[in-house]
Symmetry: C2
Subunit: 538 residues, 2 copies
């Protein structure tokens, strides 16, 4: 947290980044003109007017400023950053504020928080950047009091091993905090989820965040060398190793555990020198099926581009990466060691063999030019999207995303079914036309690609039902989630499970694995204080 600058108590970013009333009104008119829905701007309920339940836990005095019961601290951590969270925050509805917020400075204070909460019969919600889009940080616990434990004070790069290219980093470090400290050593972690500005290393590990690389090292899982977590039954610290075959991987049980087994306090992660050579190009396709085949050939060839994002024509138009007439494949290679022109040439050849028309490749390194064009437009839109969503919410626009992964053989069917289900559900539930002006938009991009499949990511825009946004979206979400699971996909490729994905996650995971996870949790957290309701029933 930058000193003197506060995060908004609802929505994305800092308080000083909120649009003015005039800006909102202008945005609303623009939205209406472009989409044919939304437009009437309503300001968010200011913090002063928010009514929040009094804390049901008395702040312990013995621990100095470790615990806080201040309204801002509680309200700003009451919700995640899903559409259904933004909507409620905008309306000033914070149904499940934590009773206390804990801000530990070190592992010992993390232990203190867990021990105190266990003694009080309270639950603990580990909290990183609070950017969960799946209800992962909302303490929906009925009568049970809750402490949200925000780890942002643990934000240091503690140690760097330049020989092995690894760094020991505290879990509360946000993307910019850890990259800033690594940059001083000429290094980078290159884990850039969309939430990068606010989310934290611990949050990435707990939710198996998707990062910078579209191929190979797609998840933070691949960058983790060892993890340290505090559990109610002691410290879980794995050995720092490049690889091991000694039993099931302890790290892989913490990766994706979403705070239910322990609070991650630090990790050794793999870092690398900053890339010096880059080669990038954009390829246009008339037919989506051709573009899919091009991506498949590129990843099955083992070319492993850093960027290999395929944007459907409509998505390309929406984000300004293209004019909406062609599907766009954004390709980029990078290396800190050697030029990557040859890899790009091979990928462009592969794309051309599937009727892809590449633009002039852009190279950096050895005095070449910076990358730009569609990729830069897209990157800008990608990072701005969460800010823009706040504006959409103010202006009565339903704006949400969902994502999955599927093997190549089932992609066409999943894509067709899911897009059709989503378009139908959004139109019907929102009372909007299915086609023409005012029709909802459902667009798709591929965020990550694998030799055996791909991760499709869907964006939904439609008219919000004012006052009924949560129910409206929940109904749409249920329809598309069922379609994803029925078509063989995963309920999430990199958005985690939280509380919102539970019904479909329960269908997806093997029953004996659920039983094993439940038993593991009961062993490590017998009082069930850690993030109850996430992954397992509370």
């Amino acid at each position: 947290m930058t000193a003197g600058r506060r995060l908004k108590h609802w929505g994305w970013g800092y308080e000083d980044q909120a649009p003015t009333a005039a800006q909102l009104a202008e945005a609303g008119a623009g939205i209406r003109a472009r989409f044919g829905f939304g437009g009437e701007a309503r300001a968010a309920v200011p913090l002063e007017e928010v009514e929040v339940r009094p804390p049901r836990l008395r702040r312990p005095e013995a621990f100095g400023d470790l615990f806080s019961d201040a309204k801002y601290e509680r309200v700003s951590r009451a919700l995640g950053k899903a559409y259904r969270d933004i909507v409620r925050g905008h309306r000033g509805e914070f149904e499940h504020p934590p009773d206390l917020v804990a801000l530990p400075r070190d592992c010992s204070e993390v232990e203190t928080v867990l021990a105190w909460a266990e003694a009080e019969g309270a639950a603990v919600v580990p909290f990183g950047g609070g950017t969960s889009v799946v209800g992962g940080v909302e303490a929906r616990l009925g009568d049970r009091p809750a402490v949200t434990m925000d780890l942002r004070r643990l934000d240091r790069v503690v140690e760097v091993d330049p020989t092995s290219l690894a760094a020991r980093i505290e879990a509360g470090a946000t993307g910019p905090r850890l990259e800033g400290q690594l940059r001083e050593r000429g290094l980078t972690m290159r884990c850039f989820p969309q939430s990068f500005e606010y989310s934290t290393l611990g949050g990435w590990i707990a939710t198996r965040a998707g990062g910078h690389f579209a191929t190979k090292e797609t998840h933070v899982d691949d960058l983790v060398e060892s993890v340290r977590a505090v559990t109610p039954r002691g410290t879980w610290e794995s050995r720092r190793l490049p690889a091991s075959g000694a039993g099931p991987s302890p790290d892989r049980l913490l990766l994706g555990s979403e705070g239910i087994l322990g609070a991650i306090t630090e990790a050794w992660v793999r870092v690398r020198p900053r890339p010096e050579w880059k080669a990038a190009a954009t390829v246009r396709f008339e037919r989506f099926a051709d573009a899919c085949e091009a991506v498949r050939e590129i990843v099955q060839a083992g070319l492993d581009p850093a960027n290999c994002r395929l944007l459907e024509a409509a998505e390309a138009g929406l984000t300004g990466a293209g004019d909406g007439t062609s599907h766009l494949l954004l390709l980029a290679f990078e290396s800190a060691h050697h030029p990557v022109d040859e890899a790009l040439r091979l990928a462009l050849d592969a794309a051309a063999s599937h009727a892809g028309a590449g633009d002039a490749p852009r190279f950096t390194g050895d005095g070449g030019a910076r990358s730009g064009g569609a990729a830069e437009s897209w990157r800008g839109a990608f990072l701005a999207a969460p800010y823009l969503r706040d504006t959409f919410v103010c202006c009565g626009v339903l704006s949400e995303t969902f994502e999955t992964a599927i093997t190549w053989d089932r992609l066409e069917e999943l894509h067709a079914t899911v897009v059709d289900t989503a378009r139908r559900a959004v139109a019907e539930i929102s009372g909007a036309p299915r086609e023409g002006r005012g029709a909802p938009l459902v667009t798709c991009r591929f965020t990550h690609a694998y030799p055996d499949g791909v991760a499709p990511y869907f964006t939904v825009l439609g008219p919000a039902i004012r006052g009924g946004e949560v129910e409206q979206w929940d109904e749409i979400k249920a329809a598309v989630s069922a379609a994803l699971i029925d078509a063989g996909g995963t309920i999430t490729h990199h958005h985690a499970v939280g509380r919102d994905h539970r019904p479909w996650y329960d269908r997806q995971r093997p029953a004996p694995f659920a039983a094993a996870l439940r038993a593991a949790k009961a062993e490590l957290d017998p009082a069930a204080i850690l993030n109850p309701g996430v992954l397992l029933d509370p």
Copy 2:
């Protein structure tokens, strides 16, 4: 199992591959001349003379030939393939033969075996190729009767998805069985552990086997798309996905579970077209430290060679890959899609910058020549090593290996400490000179390399204490294992834990993870029938 051909009841390979008495005597003389120890050839106790405890379980008649109590079936599955196993088998000592051997043909028969064993109070040892080198298949269970469940009848490639490049394969398929079936489709899994000829897909998954690739996809873990296992509390079947972020990975909990959570019956694995282009070269180094730096640069550059095996001079001499005067780096790249000459050139440039002298690169594809030279010599020695070990055992030579992984920053110290500890321990415990003629050999190679570290693999040859081989090796093993763990390494990079690595595995793994694993097992296997004593106390 090839019809009409039986595996040896002890040692490596088929009965018809055993050397004759004359061949053994000649080998013994050669060994003595070369190493200055060993030499006196003793034949193995033939099966007819082996005395084996009568079965403590009565073979159930109701299930046809599902269960066997035949002597050969029991004896040939009583031990794994560690040195301490080969020695005991050679002597005709089979202390813990399974009481029955089960040979299920399908999942339903696997369920039958588990249910029957649970009702009888018997343990079940899942068995693939029986090539465990860590006591993973030896039923050291005191008075508790045991059924060894051999899955070799489940050996089919059931389904191939040529679009996603994946195949559904039954767990009992050996390397040659599954590769033979894939070859008919122009595909290959390219998982080639040293035990490839006999070990099985299910065994690879249960033990996180190391495969063909020296970089990136080093373990079978990376090739697994989904797994099916039968547990005493139902079937564990994960969804077939290229990737997922939905909770901790179920597959990663089965990978390395060594049969204690369930019996793996099949898996979807990633396959690929057979490589068409290959580029290989051998690089000589005078100084081992330079060779390490070369490997580090190559992997940190992201060049990802398929082969990147560094042989210490002595190891190169031992295997015939070199004359023993230089350290050798075997480099190879391969692709089914495009020439890889450029990648090899970059790797050779990196090696040259660390004083490595490369020989003339060899290329295949586009009409080029086959690879050969040191790499071929080494590969031949690699696959022959387990056969040769039987001969060593007959001739009174201690012959064993151990391995680890370590980050680059701690490699030099680990290597020095471990080699010194091993040389000292072997000499002292064996009563051999530390240097000169008759001194034991301890040599090292790197089997796998990572951006953040490497997997050193050690080979030990020395004079066996006839009749006391097991105690002799156990004492040496304890010394080197303690050295590995004290130096920060893992007790195993790809040999699994079994029963033999337990004391050091227990030191390595986080205590809360051990508790979680114990709880998961108790939930899935409440009667503790599955491979008791492996990974956890029985």
